[in-house]
């Protein structure tokens, strides 16, 4: 792992030639019995995995319209074939979105369609053999569920949905991935992905209060488990101690302080991340999300705000209302959702992204900044995939692109865009999303970062960019690890609220 080398930049970003099999040996670690069983999955590959897997697939086809339609609708037009960062970086044809989907579609055709049953060769149908199952494991753990392919598909086929279904099937036969399943176990056991227990969390927050006091002379509080607070902040646990994440957490606290907002963290829900989405398991997704509902009810908060985390914001924005009732517009008869929705203050969006919160406060004139404090930075913005293509901010489509940029421009003087084909809805994944942010996939992560690194290099060369802001804990962790391999300084990456923190004027408001 240590000697992973970065692939060379493409001099002209042409579509790469195929290198079949180039990534077939890169296989994420498999979960052991203990990890799987803690989530209620079989400990290891069950004897009747074949029948169980086909049965599970049949079940999913009746529960998810996305999977059913996506299995049927693909015409192999190839629109998606050059759009995946993992394909661009690895050149393995099975990392083309359509080929990745076909790993499952070929099995679907064999067992669930007439032509596949009668003439498998003709329509590219295959039996589910052990080799095919292993291939699923390998290549469905080389997809970060970033949805870039779905932007370009004429039918909107989203490979993320197929990957999620495949991982769900693999888990159901005892063939789960160590990284994701271990983390989900930690959320249930300890409360967050990093396994940071309550007392350690309290210590960290006290330490932060001292640090900020030392740096600014002002008592900025980091409250936890405060009943009756107005805002409950749900943030990725990396924000509590990882670099550069923690600088954004300080930024949120300063915004709350400067606007006089009463807020609290929760030790029960000390994690915004929800890896239940990555493994495509509705029960896990729901169970993890329910912690936020419980914390909100227990603390009696009026608003729920989410910190800088890409997939967490997708889950919060798109799924929380469905899973937990955090949102608005539940039926009068929907007692489960109404119980919480009656408590929340619907003058504000529920849930709200921290960027929406800060931008709203800037709009009200409640914050002031010393923009020169960020003059050492020439800043660009990396759109995180789940925010860009799986969620929204503000009142209009595309607010998720404008609001973070508006904040940066409000707190700093030097802002530069990267190439338009690689930002906004067409942004490239950092290369570490979707449950792949693990050292056993370092080779994949480095190669998957290639398209982003290429365009970053462009703005570095042309504009002297020295800071890439992003609003995702996984992007931050992935880039700090991978960028040095491409010859960049790891401190080039940071959060939007890190920039807010640098420039915000405290004390006089």
């Amino acid at each position: 792992m240590a000697d992973v080398a970065a692939p060379p930049y493409r001099t002209i970003p042409i579509i790469p030639a195929l290198k079949p099999g180039s990534m077939e040996g890169v296989k994420s670690f498999v979960a052991n019995n203990k990890i799987n069983e803690a989530l209620g999955f079989p400990g290891q590959l069950v004897d009747d995995w074949h029948d169980k897997a086909i049965a599970k697939m049949g079940e999913l086809l009746t529960k998810y319209r996305s999977l059913k339609v996506y299995m049927d609708a693909c015409v192999h037009c190839g629109a998606c074939s050059d759009k995946c960062h993992y394909f661009i970086g690895t050149q393995d044809p099975k990392n083309m979105p359509v080929a990745r989907q076909d790993l499952m579609r070929s099995v679907y055709r064999r067992y669930f369609t007439l032509p596949g049953k009668l003439l498998p060769k003709l329509v590219g149908a295959r039996d589910l053999t052990r080799d095919v199952l292993d291939e699923w494991y390998t290549y469905f753990h080389q997809c970060s569920e970033c949805r870039r392919c779905s932007v370009f598909c004429p039918y909107g086929i989203d490979t993320a949905e197929v990957t999620m279904a495949a991982r769900e099937i693999l888990d159901s036969v005892g063939y789960g991935q160590k990284y994701a399943n271990e983390i989900i176990g930690k959320v249930h056991r300890i409360g967050n992905n990093l396994g940071l227990p309550g007392p350690a969390l309290n210590d960290t927050l006290e330490g932060l209060e001292e640090d900020v006091k030392d740096a600014t002379g002002i008592d900025v509080r980091f409250p936890i488990d405060v009943k009756g607070a107005e805002v409950l902040l749900i943030t990725p646990s990396a924000d509590f101690f990882a670099e550069p994440h923690i600088d954004s957490l300080i930024g949120y606290a300063k915004v709350f302080h400067a606007t006089g907002t009463s807020w609290t963290l929760s030790s029960m829900a000390s994690e915004a991340g929800n890896f239940g989405m990555f493994i495509g398991n509705y029960d896990q997704l729901r169970k993890i999300a329910l912690r936020i509902r419980e914390a909100a009810l227990e603390l009696g908060v009026k608003r729920i705000v989410v910190g800088e985390c890409g997939h967490a914001w997708r889950v919060a924005y798109s799924f929380w209302n469905t899973l937990t009732g955090v949102g608005d517009g539940a039926d009068e008869t929907d007692r489960f959702a109404q119980m919480l929705q009656k408590q929340l203050d619907h003058r504000y969006k529920q849930p709200m992204h921290i960027c929406e919160f800060t931008w709203d406060m800037i709009g009200r004139g409640a914050l002031s900044f010393n923009k020169e404090a960020n003059d050492k930075h020439i800043i660009t913005f990396h759109d995180s995939c789940n925010v860009a293509r799986g969620s929204r901010m503000g009142d209009f489509a595309g607010g998720q692109f404008e609001i973070p940029r508006n904040i940066i421009k409000a707190v700093a003087n030097n802002f530069v865009e990267m190439s338009l084909e690689t930002t906004r809805e067409q942004t490239f994944c950092c290369g570490g999303g979707g449950g792949l942010l693990t050292d056993d996939l370092m080779d994949l992560r480095v190669k998957g970062a290639l398209p982003r690194m290429e365009v970053l290099q462009q703005v570095v060369d042309e504009h002297g960019v020295n800071f890439m802001a992003t609003i995702c804990a996984i992007c931050k962790a992935q880039f700090t690890k991978v960028m040095p391999i491409y010859g960049f300084d790891r401190r080039m990456v940071g959060g939007v609220h890190q920039l807010v923190s640098n420039a915000i004027i405290l004390g006089d408001k």
Binding site: C77, S81, G156, I157, D158, R286, S391
Partner: protein
């Protein structure tokens, strides 16, 4: 009555039955399968009207494909738009008197046959010569294009080179619609043309041609982006809350 006419008439009844029942069954399955989570590919319209417009742009202009690849878009759009014109023009064989607007598009419909063939050849060339597309192509992908090319080419031959007795063909189909078999001209190219259409109708509901109804049911395209404003939940998921 000759056997060929009877056989083709019967095959057309069967193929139409498979097409209609099969398609109805598929659409019904798509409609009944729940979409438990909000997954529009964002930025997405926030209202239902917006969704209708997005879908219209997708179906009429192939908006996403346009963003993806200009060559595939050009060939694909040319083929589909031409096919639509050709199908509309063919209504003249099923209506008496011919509707006014069908008369009006007659000249365009004729040349659409040529552009349809061009589009198909473009798509097939991509499949044959672009490494990535060749890699993902199954035999059926090639055969389906060949089938469509065969239909277009045989139609063009009858229109421009070896004319068939279109009056007789029209009588055949007017009769067919009244469940009576009229004689077809004994013309090999016509047989080929009609039998290929029979094959196309029959494989439609069991093949990738389902992309046509499928696109309307694709959650990443047909959902409004309003999850915070309105609670969306599938019946099977509601049970988890009891």
């Amino acid at each position: 009555m000759d056997m060929a006419s009877i056989l083709i008439a019967i095959l057309f009844y069967f193929a139409t039955l498979i097409f209609v029942v099969g398609l109805f069954y598929r659409i019904n399955t798509y409609a009944r399968t729940p979409a438990p989570l909000k997954i529009p590919t964002t930025p997405a319209p926030t209202t239902q009207t917006g969704v209708v417009l997005r879908m219209a742009r997708e179906v009429v202009f192939f908006e996403s494909l346009f963003k993806a690849n200009l060559w595939t878009w050009a060939a694909g759009w040319l083929f589909h738009a031409s096919l639509l014109l050709v199908l509309m023009r063919h209504l003249r064989y099923f209506t008496d008197p011919v509707w006014g607007w069908v008369e009006l598009i007659q000249p365009f419909g004729m040349y659409a046959g040529i552009t349809m063939l061009l589009g198909l050849c473009g798509l097939w060339a991509r499949r044959l010569f672009v490494e990535r597309i060749r890699y993902i192509s199954t035999p059926s992908d090639h055969l389906m294009l060949l089938l469509l090319i065969g239909i277009a080419a045989s139609g063009l031959v009858m229109k421009f080179l070896a004319h068939t007795d279109v009056i007789a063909v029209k009588n055949f189909f007017l009769g067919w619609m009244q469940l009576s078999v009229m004689p077809l001209p004994a013309d090999f190219i016509l047989y080929f043309h009609l039998l290929s259409v029979v094959a196309l109708l029959a494989i439609f509901p069991i093949s990738k041609l389902l992309h046509a109804p499928g696109v309307f049911f694709s959650p990443s395209r047909n959902q409004a982006d309003n999850p915070r404003e309105k609670r969306h939940i599938a019946p099977w998921a509601t049970k988890l809350e009891k």
